[in-house]
Point group: D3
Chain length 239, copies 6
Amino acid sequence: MRPSGRAPDELRPITITRHYTKHAEGSVLVEFGDTKVICTASVEERVPPFLRNAGRGWVTAEYSMLPRATTSRGGREAARGRQGGRTLEIQRLIGRSLRACVDTEALGERTVTLDCDVIQADGGTRTASITGAYVALRDAVAWLRGRKLLRRDPLHGYLASVSVGIYQGVPVLDLDYAEDCNAETDMNVVMNDQGAFIEVQGTAEGHAFRREELDSMLDLARSGIADLIEHQKAALAAD
Amino acid sequence: MRPSGRAPDELRPITITRHYTKHAEGSVLVEFGDTKVICTASVEERVPPFLRNAGRGWVTAEYSMLPRATTSRGGREAARGRQGGRTLEIQRLIGRSLRACVDTEALGERTVTLDCDVIQADGGTRTASITGAYVALRDAVAWLRGRKLLRRDPLHGYLASVSVGIYQGVPVLDLDYAEDCNAETDMNVVMNDQGAFIEVQGTAEGHAFRREELDSMLDLARSGIADLIEHQKAALAAD
Amino acid sequence: MRPSGRAPDELRPITITRHYTKHAEGSVLVEFGDTKVICTASVEERVPPFLRNAGRGWVTAEYSMLPRATTSRGGREAARGRQGGRTLEIQRLIGRSLRACVDTEALGERTVTLDCDVIQADGGTRTASITGAYVALRDAVAWLRGRKLLRRDPLHGYLASVSVGIYQGVPVLDLDYAEDCNAETDMNVVMNDQGAFIEVQGTAEGHAFRREELDSMLDLARSGIADLIEHQKAALAAD
Amino acid sequence: MRPSGRAPDELRPITITRHYTKHAEGSVLVEFGDTKVICTASVEERVPPFLRNAGRGWVTAEYSMLPRATTSRGGREAARGRQGGRTLEIQRLIGRSLRACVDTEALGERTVTLDCDVIQADGGTRTASITGAYVALRDAVAWLRGRKLLRRDPLHGYLASVSVGIYQGVPVLDLDYAEDCNAETDMNVVMNDQGAFIEVQGTAEGHAFRREELDSMLDLARSGIADLIEHQKAALAAD
Amino acid sequence: MRPSGRAPDELRPITITRHYTKHAEGSVLVEFGDTKVICTASVEERVPPFLRNAGRGWVTAEYSMLPRATTSRGGREAARGRQGGRTLEIQRLIGRSLRACVDTEALGERTVTLDCDVIQADGGTRTASITGAYVALRDAVAWLRGRKLLRRDPLHGYLASVSVGIYQGVPVLDLDYAEDCNAETDMNVVMNDQGAFIEVQGTAEGHAFRREELDSMLDLARSGIADLIEHQKAALAAD
Amino acid sequence: MRPSGRAPDELRPITITRHYTKHAEGSVLVEFGDTKVICTASVEERVPPFLRNAGRGWVTAEYSMLPRATTSRGGREAARGRQGGRTLEIQRLIGRSLRACVDTEALGERTVTLDCDVIQADGGTRTASITGAYVALRDAVAWLRGRKLLRRDPLHGYLASVSVGIYQGVPVLDLDYAEDCNAETDMNVVMNDQGAFIEVQGTAEGHAFRREELDSMLDLARSGIADLIEHQKAALAAD
């Protein structure tokens, strides 16, 4: 029934490649099927103005798509001179989600910036970004700990993200582009390894969705995110 | 327990004043307690480029706060030369929500722009904007119908929006600024008069929230939105 | 003869509502007939770079129109990414005029920003803005004095502003939009309560104007401004 | 008494050099003492969008100062990415003034752009710009007439501009920078060869100015502008 | 002697991976050692305004570095709101170079945009970009020919690019970042498969360079470019 | 054979006028035939952020063309809100070239900005700018030395720039606009008075150029630059 032939509760093949580029403190290529995102974590020994002398650090994100990550070429935001609303909305979501698992006092007065650059898009770029950026952040924290720059671990728990939706009347997990275009409802969920919610963002596309539809989507998301966290743990175990 | 003394499931005083300014096809001052937003609906006989010759209309929104709508003065976005991420995120939400109740073919090849300008902010500006903009949109549609420019009603059903959150461990409805700053979870919900969801956006602020917390917040939202739709109907009945 | 039926030397109904919004140190809704402007005064304990350590304060203004303050919707300047020439010209005029009655040394090293946001336009938005902003500024100064932050009053005298013009060959006071569009000459005048000039800006629209026309317009302006200052005093007396 | 030793009613040496650069349809170097402005008139066979198919032409102006036209280097507006309020205000004044002597129907559906680029500033750059741009405009009109592109002369009459002010209590004509900085009042006047006003813009700098001061300044302006028009006529006669 | 241990006339390991991403008509990952650039060619059936109805096509380029392609994180140009001078200079060079081997009439009225996105930088990003973009362009042309959209081949010959410089007094080929920082002279050369020059850009960094130094650098460039063209041919032969 | 009737190795008439405007520390009008550029050198007692406390100064350049410097009017970059790629490329070249003859330690912690504003363009504006800016820089250095602000001369040697190209198969020196439009190759060369290269930038326009063509162009450039340096010396000798 799904264009990809997947079962409703089946994730796409997930790949998490660490140390993908050489300069960043954390660098991950995350693949959710044909969606591929380079997530790098950069550590800088400064904080934004509103945190100066507050004894706390900051975690933030930037998101972008290469112009030809998509089926037709999208204009380059740097050439247009402004980031679009979709970009800003996504990078705010990524940053907010990751901060939910960070003890910024333990991080110290420094900033970790997660750059999520989509090199190929096939649906779910924001959920792949969050899932990959978490691993890059963890590597950056390990890099700081390796240099004895942290007194305690600033990360509490794992988190990952997945999309769920209603496609042809059926709740499905991890929508690819073919499904995303035709979904009646689209929901992005971020959860931690306790099964609690960090973010829930659901939008009716075709028709308003009912409470029981919401409930089945959340059930699918919980199970998908648990799987994704296993993928993260496996990638982090290998070294 | 709530700073305002309200019961957990109690809305702030709601006022919807139609015909607030004289030039717009729909013009509403909406007040959720001390949050006051001017929502105007402007009809223009043109559509954005991506809809040219598509036989459909468009509904979009713009959102702004007067610089001193807040406790300290915020810089004017026009002077800074760009709209911030929060602004873009909110106006995308308002536009998307309202389109969910519009039959764009019935609207014809024209655009209705909902301008939501916050003149005083005390929490919940986006939910007040959606609730007020719906009424302004309905007045603009009535204006079009009065001029015999529509063959059928492009609006299906009512919609309104409210925020819910967890404040000091208790789920509460329609947070004001004092609660919003200290809420552990903040969720904005848009629903129609069938009790179905248009948008659900929940964010963990203090700690990740559990499924049962989500459930109680959604229950509160459903009841609050039903009340808000009654306010809309009462305002629209008076003429 | 005038579209509104007013006598040539007759102001529109003038309303000055203080404490219009709750956050600002001064907040005024000023109405010149159907022209309605929210003028807020915001006190900030900093000065612009060119005044650092100069022992003086600063008074400045920003001006904007809500997109649908006018008969057809104007594009939002924040969305376009720049303030237009008309906006900049008007806000420079407002700021310069108000500084003419301020002793910036007495104000101390702080800035008062006057935001003039037009919610409904019917001609004369800049003169209404100056007239209302003066009252907001005065309330902000009173707020500072109430907190014992000033050693002496930084305001010397009152000031107000009105437009005058030649409409169908006759000098008229306080043009509304219908007159403004068709006026042969349009002049904005700012005066103090001594009857001396702060600003005079006259523009020939239809034909160049003669010295005697200029003289009659200035006579009208003087009398109109004297009336406006009475309105300001009455509004400030009430508390 | 004046820093330059001039009499109160004495202009600086005025030079108007036509055909200053070779590409423009009109090109003038105008000098008011040490203030030097290149004014070019460019004819383009198109009109702005709001005049399309209106059977009328348009005259507009742009103004700029070379970064080191002034005693200290000013930032380049192109590098900052926006024109300042002063620039926009001045170029609006120049364009509006010149349009006051143009019959845009006689001009036909074309645009004449007056570029006023200040290469050296010593006070009065806007009045020199208007005075020089008029001559460039006249040359551009002659160029159009030479090509038989106009059926009748679109220019009615001459116009020029000068500044007047109160310096050390005395009304003076054509202020240079040393006077401008210390003037109590500064007024720019644009008049035609009938002695009628196109623009009057007066600003109190030190103290509000009285009606009789205004009157003496306007007397000085009338006589100075009559002289400037003689300079224009002499320059245009030479060929 | 070279930090990398290479001989003065030795290229870094060169890898050219075609079909790197799935949406673009041409997609290449090019690696010059640790410098890695994704070059995509996008075909669009439109031309820029200056070529409308000219019966010719256009080839253009855009260049960007991911923020963490470099040792320290660079600000994202989209976030800053403008592309820097270096970016514009490089993308103008890439576009100009590639157009030198394209018969734009044979291409027809369409545009090929070469996006060169650096995912890891270690010196020579512009020469790698040109070398990789050529291959992507060739694949895009093959795609057009496969769809019978071209009557003849618009590409004449091959072209590639390499950097040369003087490092510690010795002319060297294909500088990596360690050499680039310390080179006395840095030159980028673009040549075709006839050994003729498309672009030569040499800059003295430490001291002005003499004619004989220029000559030896050009000799090195010719031999390096011949090798790079062999790499291109090998990559294009494989399918 | 050349449109101007010049011999292939003949420069246009060169004029270098010092002290052209009165405010700048160095101010030169340079003319290469009908190409006229005002080059000013401005000394400021600050350095860019990346040089703070480095004990060194900075030399930088900005370049612009007046809108009607060219045969048809070009849009003003300040009005468009960004400098174009060509402008940025040229001003980077001018700055880089001049820094090649400056000992920034000897200059001390200050910045010299060279503004090159083209008032009339007829080909070769960048080479004229470099040649004129060198003289302005030298005057600014003399001004600093006159004030005893420098301990030693920060300038080592002279430098100038000229364009060379292949026009109708023949290498020619100092192309004017008529040649530039039709040249098969266009090369800009910056050299010092030792005959060594500072910059070489050659671009194939019509066909790729061969090594022997490159060689003859460089020979022409060397001789032309030697002449230009004589012009600089003569201008500097006069005082």
